[in-house]
Symmetry: C2
Subunit: 479 residues, 2 copies
């Protein structure tokens, strides 16, 4: 029986990063993956396929060009479901190759099969290849098993007209209408991507609000855009059942009685930790009602100190980016190292259409903490780059402390938001003030100029001398 | 006769910014513009039209999609010259509207006509509308007249087959071949944009190197890409004459005898300050042999202290972005204000195909200053976002001080370079180190992840403990 310094269950972003980190420390690491190929949900049914789909839809529809060529402009007239998945399949191959190579290069051992704890330091793996069971002993473990879609019993999933968020990638024909249940990150991303294909989408969410970790003004802008292109948004709509009409179309029954019938229904209300079958009780561990594990957020240790958990299985924020960092920190801690504490602020990226990204405090948070503040807003259409791209929407909002002049938060909706946010993130983490943006030169023409424009907007509201005497310094407003 | 606190000759980026700044200070500002409409070269024949052309070419050819759909992929099969200028015309309208509105809102006076100094404090403006001369007195002046193409006598410009860089926008038919003389920013941008349309381009430069303010490794990458798609690059090729063959096609005579014949020739070797006719001698000023004015770089004052100059007329770097900042600083200084000294580092953006952007020191500069350093390189194809976009090229190079760990320079070539550079710019100006990139979380998938990958590359070369004992901290290599 083989013994390893670290056994990692799952090869998604957190598992992969932990394995490579352990290997770099000279440790023997084993990754157990139950799928045929490495990569986890991120590569196979989650992050990568949905982002590849998004890119494909934007390209094939000519979405980014409509500002110039009109709303009727199309790059490809008849888009088939096969067109949609073509890019995703290529990207997936590429990603898996990169991972395989990374594991080989760093001498990370891998085994394909289902893992189950038989004791706190031992797992049994039923190999996919021959069905045989093999035992492995580990000094340390990392549970990075990810999640699977929550499939409540009142939803008649069939993989043809009623899908969960993993199955939706198997859609074989483009529907004319779609109901998406659940306005979390996944539901919002798919709803808006399919809506860009001019599928009539209804987004149903039982709660009265959604994506609550994002600044409300950004969400209001987002809702406005969705409604403007005919996405029906049903907040506070509790789903009581999903049935079929006589033609076999799914009916989404809503408590209020305002049911929604569509060609296809995507149920994306929550995911469960993929912990069933892991034999956690044999390791002395228990999960919450959604199969998730809780950990010490600083060390990523579970209740059993030599067993760590990272990635989606520990819950929020469940982003590939943060999961990678968790995996790295867990591996460092597992081998007695105290990593430097990471920069305070990390970004959230929502790859919807339009995309959103945010870092630091929302206006709601700043208010709650009673910090005197001012906001500045810039519209992408105020930038020359925005004119050149034909952008009609997109905005940036920055929040500054009135006292310290420090940047407190940046919130972006629109083209390139997930890339642009990192400029604000650097200024935030390196403790820059509003003056950084006022005095810096930005490439012209770029969307990044929105940083200067929104800073000037805030400056003119709260930082300019209130009654401007003739000889006082002043800043032009760029707009 | 009217008197103004500040009279500005020219309404391009520097003139406009100075005018608005003066107005915000409560000063009476007058802008004299000789064209029919405001905006200067930047809006009418320079920055904006060339960037709009670039965007149009990339879109209509499907340039960004070829990584997925193959080199033969086209969005539009037969692209006409009219297709090319369509977007530019719309953008120009929009930009001029924004400027008109900005001047009106800030109560900046404007007059259309040719300005000429009659004394150090007085100009005569010959109004375009009625040809009448009007005199204006100013306490301060800003010469922001920009440049015009250098048109040497041995080049038979005709606006049909031999163009300067302002005229090229009037190209009425797409040629099959083009010679571009001059590998400065303008020549390089147009050469690569037209090459993306599959026009056979020959780029001729008398010097042995080009774009010398950019890191050599980036330029080598750039040259490789150009040659890979069949742009013929002729460095060290002195142009002795431009003649026509019997079919009327321009022949570019090269000193070496290796002449180049093509359908069209674009002469883009240098620009002259548009100072002729300004009557500078009456103001006590003289220009260099290229019509340019020299100024104190801190205050933007010419040899005559109450007369400032800014923008392209004062020479390098001649970027719209830096010109705007010069205009602002000149106006502040003109009215006795000492603006905060701006952040040390500003970016250069070259909107070629592929685009390039750079901030801070090049490797050549770091060596010259004898600073111990290490570089890290990332290829865009190492990022998941790169896979999704189908990018086959694009790279980032970062340079760090080995002693202080500080970032010294960032150099990017490829999609989004001019936007991405601002992340490095913020870290550079706010004095961040390699650890910022190692410890930060980046949105996944983004091209911005290249910052982390190139930082890890540098770290593994020079910042990781040299012989890694088992219990030492280490960083995984992400790739």
């Amino acid at each position: 029986m083989s013994r390893f310094d670290l056994i990692i269950i799952g090869s998604g972003p957190s598992g992969r990063r932990a394995a490579v980190q352990a290997a770099k420390l000279g440790k023997r690491a084993l990754v157990v993956e139950k799928r045929q190929r490495v990569g986890g949900v991120s590569v196979h049914t989650g992050t990568i396929p949905s982002k590849a789909l998004r890119e494909t839809v934007l390209n094939l529809t000519g979405w980014r060009e409509r500002g110039f060529y009109g709303a009727a402009y199309r790059v490809k007239k008849d888009i088939s479901a096969a067109d949609l998945w073509q890019r995703g399949a290529k990207v997936l191959e590429h990603e898996v190759d990169v991972l395989d190579h990374q594991f080989a290069r760093n001498r990370v051992a891998t085994v394909q099969g289902e893992a189950r704890f038989v004791s706190p330091h031992r797992i049994e793996v039923r190999r996919t290849s021959d069905g045989e069971a093999e035992h492995f002993e580990g000094d340390r473990f990392l549970i990075a098993c990810g999640t699977r879609p929550h499939r409540p019993t009142h939803v008649p999933f069939n993989g043809r007209t009623v899908f969960d968020s993993d199955e939706i990638l198997k859609l074989e024909e483009l529907p004319r209408s779609m109901t998406v249940v659940g306005a979390g990150v996944i539901g919002v991303e798919y709803a808006t991507i399919f809506s860009a294909l001019e599928i009539a989408v209804t987004l149903v969410e039982p709660r009265a609000t959604f994506l609550d970790f994002i600044d409300r003004e950004l969400i209001e802008e987002f809702m406005h855009e969705l409604r403007d292109r005919n996405v029906s948004l049903r907040l506070g709509a509790e789903v009581t059942a999903v049935e079929f009409d006589s033609a076999g179309r799914p009916i989404c029954r809503i408590a209020s009685g305002r049911d929604v019938t569509s060609d296809v229904l995507l149920y994306a209300a929550g995911r469960m930790g993929a912990t069933e079958g892991l034999g956690l009780e044999a390791a002395g561990l228990a999960t919450d009602h959604r199969g998730r594990l809780s950990v010490d957020p600083k060390t990523l240790q579970t209740a059993v100190p030599h067993i760590y958990a990272a990635g989606d299985v520990i819950g929020f924020p469940s982003l590939a980016s943060t999961s990678m960092e968790q995996g790295r920190l867990a591996a460092l801690h597992a081998f007695g190292l105290q990593p430097q504490s990471p920069p305070e602020h990390f970004p959230y990226g929502i790859y919807a259409v339009p995309e959103m990204s945010t870092v630091g405090m929302s206006e709601e948070e700043v208010r709650q903490r009673k910090i005197p503040y001012e906001c500045g807003v810039a519209r992408f259409r105020e930038t020359s780059r925005g004119h050149i791209m034909g952008l009609q929407s997109g905005m940036m909002k920055m929040i500054f402390s009135k006292k310290s002049r420090r940047l407190l938060g940046v919130h972006i909706i629109g083209e390139g938001a997930t890339e642009l946010i990192h400029i604000g993130q650097a200024v935030l983490n390196l403790k820059g003030t509003i003056d950084y943006f006022i005095d810096s030169t930005f490439n012209y023409p770029t969307l990044a100029e929105a940083y200067k424009i929104s800073a000037l907007d805030a400056w003119n509201r709260a930082f300019a001398p209130s009654a401007m005497p003739p000889e006082q310094p002043a800043i032009d407003d760029a707009a």
